[in-house]
């Protein structure tokens, strides 16, 4: 049964030091508020999985919460580099960061395998690239029917999957629409799940291209309006592109970054 919990309590109950956590949201519906709560509770040695680490993982990495990053595209979309991620990879600051990188298709299929209860997923790709030689969890197998070589990627099963969505009803059914990314897959692949939402309503009415995740797979719903800012929630607010542009400057310097984390995340608003 889904519990309607304050975000602070949901993170404290479900996210532990050393866990593998996936906070997903492909540009849209990124659970920034949940990530900030993890920083405030000073979780350590996390393995973070996410297709596009984005600003939220740059912040978690810079804050020293992360031991390992599993990802497929680590930039500031449309702007450039993630400076905290690069500083961790290139200079071990603030702590060394182990990385495991994939293609988007590989990450998506790893979640699909996790959601399907399979040890791995079968796909094409990776062959001929430099990725398999530098990345765990990719291998090649022979198709038992045709004999052709296909690619296997190991299932990804996070301890905790965290997403943001537009709405939930009071029973904990979650509704999202617009770009849905791998939100459904990560919820189904994870052992425990937290969903932050813009709104809690009595009844969910249909929206174009929407998906509803039934409450049976949702452990906690947290009512956090604006919880995806500066990314966006279609129908509620737009992406704050200026914040993404400004992050380039804030994150390029360690001292400035630490001041920002102190004033914008650690000090409760």
């Amino acid at each position: 049964m889904t519990a309607l919990l304050p975000l602070e309590e949901a993170i404290s109950r479900y996210v532990h030091d050393g866990d593998t956590i996936a906070l997903e949201g492909f540009t849209h519906l990124i659970p920034f508020a949940a990530g900030h709560e993890i920083i405030r509770q000073r979780r350590k040695s996390l393995t973070l999985a996410r297709m596009t680490p984005d600003l939220i993982y740059d912040q978690l990495i810079g804050a020293g919460c992360v031991r390992k990053l599993v990802f497929s595209w680590g930039g500031n979309p449309g702007v450039g580099s993630l400076h905290r991620f690069r500083d961790a990879v290139e200079n071990d600051w603030p702590v060394p960061l182990e990385i495991e990188e994939h293609s988007h298709a590989g990450m998506a299929n790893r979640y699909v395998a996790g959601a399907s209860g399979m040890p791995f997923a079968v796909m094409k790709g990776y062959a001929g690239t430099s990725l398999p030689a530098n990345t765990q969890n990719v291998s090649f197998i022979e198709c038992p029917f045709t004999g052709e070589s296909v690619t296997a990627v190991a299932a990804l099963r996070p301890d905790v999957g965290i997403i943001h969505a537009q709405r939930a009803d009071r029973r904990g059914n979650v509704q999202l629409w617009g770009i849905v990314g791998v939100q459904v897959e990560v919820v189904l692949a994870s052992a425990r799940t937290i969903v932050t939402v813009e709104e809690v309503v009595d009844e969910l009415d249909a929206r174009p291209f929407d998906r509803v995740i039934p409450s049976m797979k949702v452990d906690a719903v947290c009512h956090v309006p604006g919880g995806a800012r500066p990314s966006y929630a279609l129908g509620y607010y737009e992406r704050d592109n200026d914040a993404y542009l400004a992050w380039d400057d804030i994150s390029s310097d360690r001292a400035r970054f630490l001041e920002w984390i102190e004033s914008e995340v650690l000090v409760p608003h």
Partner: protein, 270 residues
């Protein structure tokens, strides 16, 4: 006294051309001309997105734009800053999940053209967007990584690469193969299970390169107005082959220049 063909004359032509358009503008315009109306295009963010949206605004109104974040048939009025801007899903014919996009639509072989950029490209059109430097664990520069690019290069029916022609980018061999171009032998791509034809065109701010039909090495087939073959050679780290019948791209028309300059970019605060 200048004679036609003297270095002085060439320089004059070049500067006159650049007064009328920037090197990014001609790259974008020539790129957009290559897009067939009615085709389906898998679009990366940045220059590729600008190129395809310019085509949609000019000669290819019926192009189907597909962004890796899920929108199919997106019709943005404002050029997106990111691959998942709300503008893309709000104007799309449908929005699919990421596994559906990559497995069914892309790997399934349903998309005509892919548009890619990269930090490095080599003579066999292999692309690098992962790390600069020979040691993966200790790179000189850490780049964003693969994203959707390897699968676009593998499974779109054909791929156009669009990138600025700089010496540090046009290298003998890429430091890291993020996306596969061509190999040393016939049937290389097929042996890897890659069903698309791969990078069939490379459009830069200096000209157009295509893989040679026999040895697959990228060959200069056209230069933009005011650009010389020597300029392209200077900015290419391998011994560049030049087509016998090398052509010159036609200069941008007033209509094309007006269209490229009127595209509105998201995130521009002005």
């Amino acid at each position: 006294m200048d004679r036609i063909g003297s270095p002085g004359a060439a320089l004059k032509v070049r500067s006159a051309a650049l007064e009328r358009w920037t090197s990014d503008e001609i790259m974008t315009i020539v790129g957009s001309r290559s897009i067939r109306d009615g085709s389906s295009c898998f679009v990366g963010i940045g220059i590729p997105s600008t190129v395809v949206n310019l085509a949609r605004a000019t000669h290819a109104p019926n192009v189907t734009l597909i962004y890796e974040s899920g929108p199919i048939g997106a019709k943005p009025q404002v050029l997106p800053l990111s691959i998942g801007d709300g503008e893309l899903s709000a104007t799309a014919d449908t929005v699919v999940s990421i596994p559906e996009m990559f497995n069914y639509w892309l790997q399934g072989g349903n998309i005509d053209m892919g548009y890619l950029s990269a930090a490095q490209i080599d003579r066999l059109a292999n692309l690098n967007s992962t790390v600069i430097g020979s040691r993966y664990a200790d790179p000189t520069v850490r780049l964003p990584g693969a994203g959707g690019a390897p699968n676009v290069a593998a499974f779109c029916k054909a791929v156009t690469v669009i990138m600025r022609h700089q010496s540090r980018a046009f290298v003998r061999a890429v430091d890291f193969v993020t996306s596969v171009g061509f190999g040393p032998t016939d049937g290389y791509r097929e042996s890897l299970g890659l069903t698309g034809r791969g990078p069939t065109t490379v459009i830069t701010d200096l000209g157009i390169l295509e893989p040679d039909p026999h040895h697959r090495e990228l060959t200069l087939v056209a230069v933009h107005p005011g650009v010389t073959v020597d300029m392209v050679r200077d900015r290419t780290q391998w011994e560049l082959r030049v087509a016998d019948d090398i052509g010159e791209t036609s200069p941008p028309t007033e209509t094309e220049l007006e269209a490229v300059r009127s595209l509105v970019h998201a995130g521009s605060t002005s």
